[in-house]
């Protein structure tokens, strides 16, 4: 009589093992399970990293996703959680030295997804007085990138732009906000990025203005703040 733990140990190991199915019914039948389990993880990763999929092509993405799954299989059944460190995995792969922006693009795909799935909050119109407390909307995600990955990401999200792409090789800031249940993406400058960083914890408008002015003396803090609120990135508490 098979022991349940021993059976599941053996079955789980076999599911993660490489290999071709033999011609027998049992081998083909087992392959149904192995293929379904692998395909579920690969397609979840593809859905979360659609720009990386576009850049690599279906076949290459599938191979990379298999490598990633071998190292880091899904840890839970909610597949939108899967692949949180795919960008870091890509950055470690020797072959990505020929695509130095790829890991950054992957990180942008992940930030877009996190913005899409984040909690809701109502942005209330409010006077921006000095003592007003301001913070990030739950769906706000942002990053500072060492490559022009946001330009590349935006171009691939807009098929009319991708064909004319010739980005200037420079650092970039990226912002994702969710307004009216739609995720919006835009390039941001270093001063705006710094303001968002400061707002990662609720802060008063007065303290925020001081922090931004100290780091970026030439910045128009009032304009940055109004842009942050208008874009939906910031909410007033």
């Amino acid at each position: 009589m098979p022991d349940l733990a021993a059976f599941q140990n053996g079955f789980a190991s076999a599911l993660m093992a490489d290999g071709e199915a033999g011609p027998s019914f049992q081998s083909q039948a087992f392959a149904v399970y192995r293929n379904t389990a692998a395909r579920g993880a690969i397609e979840a990763l593809r859905a979360s990293y659609s720009t990386v999929d576009m850049l690599l092509g279906e076949e290459m993405f599938t191979q990379v996703a298999l490598d990633y799954r071998r190292e880091q299989p899904p840890a839970g059944p909610v597949l939108s959680d899967y692949g949180a460190n795919f960008a870091e995995f890509l950055a470690r792969q020797p072959w990505t030295c020929e695509l130095p922006y790829l890991a950054n693009v992957a990180w942008l795909d992940w930030l877009w997804l996190q913005s899409f799935l984040a909690g809701d909050a109502n942005a209330m119109p409010h006077e921006l007085a000095g003592g007003t407390s301001i913070t990030l909307h739950p769906a706000t995600r942002f990053a500072w990138l060492t490559t022009p990955a946001m330009t590349i990401w935006l171009a691939h999200r807009d098929p009319w732009e991708a064909g004319e792409l010739d980005p200037e090789w420079q650092e970039e800031g990226a912002l994702f906000t969710r307004v009216d249940q739609t995720v919006r993406a835009e390039l941001i400058g270093a001063d705006f990025h710094w303001m968002l960083l400061v707002c990662s914890v609720p802060t008063s408008v007065r303290d925020l203005a001081s922090a931004v002015a100290a780091a970026f003396p030439a910045a128009n803090v009032q304009e940055l703040l109004q842009r942050g609120v208008a874009s939906g990135a910031l909410i007033i508490q």
């Binding site: 599941q8 789980a12 299989p73 840890a75």
Partner: protein
């Protein structure tokens, strides 16, 4: 309105779903796809819920797993249930988690006395945390596994007896498993206890590209086969007047909403006792 026949909800069909006037209509979703904090996906489901009854079908409780159900996952499931108040909640007689690894699949196991105790324990934990009865679905089976001490239908009956859960009978899965493993699907259905089926699933299947008809795959990518419609008809007759809500599932090669609605209407007609079925 009493739910009769429903459809698996596809966001691509949202507008047509919201406008659907069919009496008794309801929708089912895979719960894991909506275990998120907020955003458009959840907002869409909340709007749908205001108009139709919803059923939550889990694929990740791993009820036949050697370990206990993941408490964090159950907490997320409970939050979703509390938020949207589904009229049915279900998962599968299968396992999908092993240690820290989750497999996006419904895996088989030897139905032993030991396994029965494990599944009873896991259903008890789940029903206790969710605070409600769940329905257990028979999975599609592909492999012959040594060491079964229970036929699946009697195993399910024992689960009902010991946990108070209900059954979700997937007629396509019965057909696929019976075809793959060589048992009689009518005998299987006839061995299920009466009065405990809370839901029926109908779906399409396909043939394995290498082995053809000798290995059927529960692919959910095709119309419901005639054999499955006949089994459904038989099961409805066995249920008598107590006909469970029936779901038409499709997860791949998604056709138009009208094409799915035609299959749904056919099931609704059969539930109503019509043998001359519309949209056949």
């Amino acid at each position: 309105m009493t739910p009769t026949a429903g459809l698996s909800f596809k966001p691509v069909h949202y507008e047509q779903a919201m406008a659907c006037p069919a009496a008794g209509m309801w929708f089912e979703v895979h719960a894991e796809n909506y275990m998120v904090d907020g955003g458009p996906r959840l907002a869409m489901l909340e709007t749908l819920r205001k108009r139709f009854p919803l059923s939550f079908h889990g694929v990740g409780l791993s009820l036949a797993g050697i370990g206990e159900p993941d408490r964090d996952h159950l907490a997320r499931f409970k939050r979703l249930i509390d938020r949207l108040d589904p009229f049915l909640v279900s998962d599968h007689l299968a396992w999908s988690r092993h240690g820290d690894v989750s497999f996006p699949d419904l895996l088989p196991f030897p139905r032993t006395n030991e396994a029965l105790d494990v599944v009873v324990r896991n259903i008890d934990i789940t029903q206790s945390i969710l605070g409600r009865q769940i329905l257990i679905e028979n999975p599609s089976l592909y492999m012959k596994i040594e060491g079964h001490e229970w036929p699946e239908s009697l195993f399910l009956a024992e689960l009902v007896k010991r946990t108070g859960c209900g059954l979700l009978v997937d007629v396509n899965n019965v057909f696929v498993s019976a075809s793959n493993l060589g048992f009689n699907p009518i005998s299987y259905l006839d061995a299920l206890p009466r009065g405990v089926i809370g839901e029926i699933h109908l779906a399409g299947h396909s043939e394995d590209p290498h082995l053809g008809r000798s290995l059927l795959i529960d692919s959910h990518d095709a119309p419901i086969s005639q054999e499955v419609w006949r089994l459904y008809d038989w099961l409805l007759a066995r249920c008598g007047a107590d006909r469970p809500p029936t779901l038409v599932e499709r997860d791949d090669s998604i056709p138009s909403f009208d094409a799915l609605l035609a299959e749904r209407d056919k099931a609704a007609g059969m539930m109503a006792g019509l043998r001359e079925v519309v949209h056949a």
